[in-house]
Subunit: 245 residues, 2 copies
DNA sequence: CGCACCTTGCGAACGCCGTACGCTACGATG
DNA sequence: CATCGTAGCGTACGGCGTTCGCAAGGTGCG
């Protein structure tokens, strides 16, 4: 919050010299934007609110960022840098890919708002972090023994799965967060609605019923792991019978 | 476009009786919204523009739809109804699942704007079309021989993959569409930028190089099929040695 | 037939958004 | 000391989602 404005500012009480250093910078803007997004979600990010957080006017940001879309591209690439991809090692490619998948999932769940901008920004853009991580992940598949073009397809397969799965997860968690309730209570309060909706769909209802007994968070993690395992099984069978689990 | 307004409307020239039938309805609104979205993309959808298309004022829509978010939920469920899921048949579960995956992909590519609202709306909502299709797809996996809970995970795996893959595809195509150029020309014009960006990433560059020679659309379809095949391989190995390809 | 009520549609208005533009004031450069 | 480039900002514009109160037609009831 900046100093309060006096309606008739005296010439003596100068607003502030404060020309220490640029005060605003692309990095500060991006990092503050991420904090704001994590704390309050995608709808809370406006150029004005972000400017206020930085103790600056809304339009000052345009000195460092072309427009809001560009800001979002920067922000997405920045958080992509949080993903950890192990170094390539032919002996443990499966573990390395699994770790990467988990790391990508955690990143998205830490920043659930990204799933609501993926449609605008695409996954395949040219940010340095995104390219670096893709290169490292591609190396994992090459080390496993996939030829250049198949390694590319394998990586796309894995990333698509993780993004698809976490999109649904993050969207669910966002809705939950907006409800302001504990997950248990929230599900309980929706129970009548869902049960009525499931009335005509016995198969779906069965699944929901058996799921009722377990911790939902653990259930989501298990589902995620199941998918990763199946994908790796499918990929592994394309390789020679060389690598062990 | 409605009739032009006269500044001083005469009592004789009444604006219109036109009280034939309600004129506006939830269905008309949803279907016109989809046409608008398909034609001009997500940014072109505003309550005002949609109202105008329907020959109505913006605020009239609120008699039939609670707010824009609800409209989007309706629209998403509506297009979900376009997906075709074959009837369950143990002998051909693999083909049936493959068909469903392709149908879902085509639907998203026909309506590429959906990927930019998936983050808000989630995939797991309670729309009737979504529930109906999920039930049918679940039946496919049950017929294949998966137990209730594993069938659920298998379905989630497949859908997550298709959504993830098509998200990236649709986002790419949206950017391309906004450029207003032919895909060939567009890629050509971006060539210098991408080549410079790929400079430090030899593995990524290799992939891009071999991809250069083929039809990009075919390439995307092939990649998609590759992923579906690997997933089905991974799933199939979980079943007994019963089902043939 | 008269009258009350309900539903549909709409115009005006509010507060917020992204952002273009031109001004100020400062530090650096000659 | 004069000049210039640049960071920051105040103002303003057009568009957004949405609220509210009013008008006009249809319906049901005495």
């Amino acid at each position: 919050m900046p100093a309060e404005k006096q309606p008739i500012p005296s010439v003596w009480a100068r607003p502030r010299p404060k020309r220490e250093q640029p005060s605003l910078s692309r990095d500060r803007i991006v990092s503050e934007a991420i904090q704001l997004l994590d704390a309050e979600g995608i709808d809370a990010l406006s150029m004005r609110s972000l400017g206020a957080r930085l103790g600056a006017g809304a339009t000052s940001l345009y000195r460092h960022v072309a427009n809001k879309d560009e800001l979002i591209e920067l922000v997405v690439d920045e958080i992509y840098g949080e993903v950890r991809v192990p170094a390539a090692d032919p002996a443990h490619w499966r573990a390395a890919v699994t770790d990467s998948a988990h790391s990508l999932r955690s990143m998205v769940l830490r920043h659930p708002w990204v799933v609501s901008v993926l449609g605008q920004v695409g996954l395949a853009y040219l940010g340095p972090n995104l390219m670096r991580q893709s290169e490292r992940m591609l190396a994992l598949f090459r080390a496993a023994g996939f030829a250049a073009d198949e390694a590319d397809q394998a990586m796309k397969l894995l990333i698509a799965y993780v993004i698809g799965m976490t999109t649904s997860e993050a969207a669910y968690l966002s809705v939950l967060a907006r409800s302001g309730q504990n997950e248990q209570d929230w599900l309980e309060s929706l129970r009548p609605t869902t049960e009525e909706a499931l009335q005509e769909y016995p198969l779906l209802r069965d699944g929901r019923a058996t799921a009722q007994t377990k911790d939902p968070e653990q259930l989501r993690a298990d589902s995620f792991v199941y998918g990763v395992e199946r994908i790796l099984d499918g990929l592994e069978s394309r390789l020679g019978r060389t690598s062990a689990r």
